[in-house]
């Protein structure tokens, strides 16, 4: 399978690339090389007018596309931390509530204070983690391939919704004045346990939601996946390398 040449023109987007000469024999499979047969697809239909639903649908499609077995394995660290903090908070709240209900008010005060403070600590930790560490990240994936040595690739994707630029604002909904889906992809390829760096890439691109959703809200999954695949392969190979 030949590496993709950049015959299609990619839209101008800021991207930085660092590439070291590597002796990797065969190119690592990119997302576009594996196709999904049409029968396996579910129809995705969302509310066109809700930017949240559009973004969530795109994020979910992205995760499903990149978590296929040959491609990246999703690392669920952010989700697991959020689940751990959240459920710990819920259980402390429940335990404190139960304790306060069963015991006398005066006797229960130290226990309820302890539970209350613990709940506040857990909730603030969860909020801080979500805001600072997780941020906009929607997908963190890893892949290990064994060509001549163990190559570990790590990809981090974050997404945002960009609102309609004020120059295009108008009351009539049309494909040109729709909000955009902006993706930032960070890619690192390393070997021997992350100690030597083989390749690193970063890119950022935005495209209007109207390119992926028709007027009824049905998602054109092949178009979306092709866009994602091109971006990921570009960042994996290095533009113009």
């Amino acid at each position: 399978m030949a590496p993709r040449k950049n015959a299609k023109e990619l839209p101008p987007a800021p991207s930085t690339l660092v590439r070291r000469p590597s002796s990797v024999g065969s190119p690592l499979p990119g997302p576009l090389s594996i196709s999904i047969p049409p029968e396996e697809r579910d129809v995705i239909k969302v509310n066109n007018y809700s930017a949240t639903e559009l973004k969530n649908a795109c994020d979910d499609a992205l995760k499903r596309y990149l978590s296929r077995p040959v491609l990246f394995k999703q690392i669920h660290l952010h989700t697991d931390v959020r689940l751990a903090f959240g459920w710990a908070g819920v259980f402390t709240a429940a335990a404190t509530g139960l304790y306060g209900w069963k015991t006398d008010f005066e006797k229960s005060k130290p226990g309820v204070w302890a539970g209350f403070i613990l709940y506040l600590v857990l909730t603030s930790l969860q909020t801080l983690y979500s805001y600072f560490v997780e941020g906009d990240t929607v997908f963190v994936g890893r892949r290990k391939t064994f060509s001549k040595r163990i190559i570990t690739e790590r990809i981090t994707i974050s997404s945002r919704t960009l609102p309609v630029p004020s120059s295009k604002l108008s009351l009539k909904p049309s494909p040109t004045n729709s909000p955009s889906y902006s993706l930032s992809i960070n890619y690192v390829q390393s070997t021997s346990g992350g100690k030597s760096l083989l390749a690193k890439g970063r890119t950022q691109e935005a495209k209007e939601y109207s390119a992926f959703f028709d007027e009824k809200g049905v998602m054109a999954q092949e178009v979306f996946e092709r866009w994602i695949g091109e971006l990921v392969e570009a960042v994996m190979e290095g533009k113009g390398a």
């Binding site: 459920w87 509530g97 306060g100 539970g115």
Partner: protein, 192 residues
Amino acid sequence: MFSDELKAFRRLGFRHFLLQILNFASVIASGLMLWKGLGLILNTESPIVVVLSGSMEPAFYRGDLLFLTNPPGQRYHTGDITVYRIPGAEIPIVHRVLETRDVVIPFDNSTENRLKLPPGEHQLMLTKGDNNHVDDIDLYQGLEWLDRRHIIGKVRGFLPYIGYVTIAMNDFPQLKYALLGGLGLLAIIQRE
């Protein structure tokens, strides 16, 4: 009717399901903690109560919401409106303080304990509802005076009519379950 949502769930996986349940559970947990925290800060078991009877008319009517505080060192004066609960009675009562007695020397006559107690902490009180003809002695279940430890708090403010929601949910428990069920369904299906 829910086939779209069920399909979406199967697609998104188990973690997503846990996250959605967490959304609902954390709403309930934060409400509970808000209540308990308010009770701790205001030093009262139940910072917000609903008036159930008409014994304090024309000041409070049935269905009013009352806000209570119980500062530990402060004395209660004649004329304060208090909410108290006698051990053995299940519902608290909202009435006005008629008489107070300050206990500054403890009852037992031992010479070591001849220290003066701070004035607010061991008061004895007699109460009466504004709309009642007699004071509350019959309600005290054998006690002659109310002790500070029976008092839940002093009324600081009120909101009229809001308490009817709680009265309705207590009289018709199906309403409570329907509300909870609806909230849960909404939290699980929607994503933020």
